[in-house]
Subunit: 100 residues, 2 copies
DNA sequence: TTTACATATCGAAATATTTCGATATATTTG
DNA sequence: CAAATATATCGAAATATTTCGATATGTAAA
């Protein structure tokens, strides 16, 4: 991991709501209702559920998720009108390795 | 580690200079001149050397180091007129564990 | 005990982040 | 195709961070 990506990830992690989202996605079945489509929660949770759980505005959460995607903390999958997000464990691990 | 401390640490890590300092302190003997006192670099590097290496103002570095101390990324030791800083490996490890 | 050195704190200007409501876009469904 | 649903983007106001120079404080040396 390059320093620039590390700093961008740290910026994402320095906001309580974004951190909450990352933590909630550790257990996507326990923390969110099942996706209305056939997509299992383990392969991504739809933006609406994440939005509803935070209590912040839809536009704010969309921006948050985009920033977490750009620095690669999250992975995205678009299916029909839904967008699903899940943790990018590989990048999270690389972020930790950088520090130690 | 509590969420609040995690967020404060992330804020520290979201600045390139503070990240540099944390990385430089991985090898305090390779990255800084030997302390002028009898304190070995492995037990802490004095603020002046850290300041000189960054190129930023003394007041800025003092503020940076204080914030890194407050969130416990660093440990401090004061001896005579010098202040020495080193990494707090235990907290850094706990920060990583929180993420994974 | 004055001076020099090491570090911390203050006040301020520039820049960045947070968060919103309004609006745009894209997809599905009637 | 029109309406409904899901998500993204825009513009802006409030707040926070960055970084400085000036100054204060604490310790050591002359």
């Amino acid at each position: 991991m390059k320093a620039k990506q590390f700093v961008e990830i740290s910026k994402c992690l320095s906001n309580q709501t974004r951190l909450d989202i990352l933590e909630w996605l550790k257990d996507p079945e326990g923390n969110f209702p099942p996706n209305t489509s056939s997509m299992p929660n383990t392969e991504g949770v739809c933006v609406t559920f994440i939005h509803e759980k935070t209590g912040l505005s839809q536009s704010t959460i969309s921006t948050y998720l985009t920033s977490m995607l750009r620095c690669e903390l999250l992975e995205m999958k678009r299916v029909g009108k839904w967008t699903y997000f899940k943790r990018n464990e590989k990048v999270i691990k690389a972020y930790c390795d950088y520090l130690l």
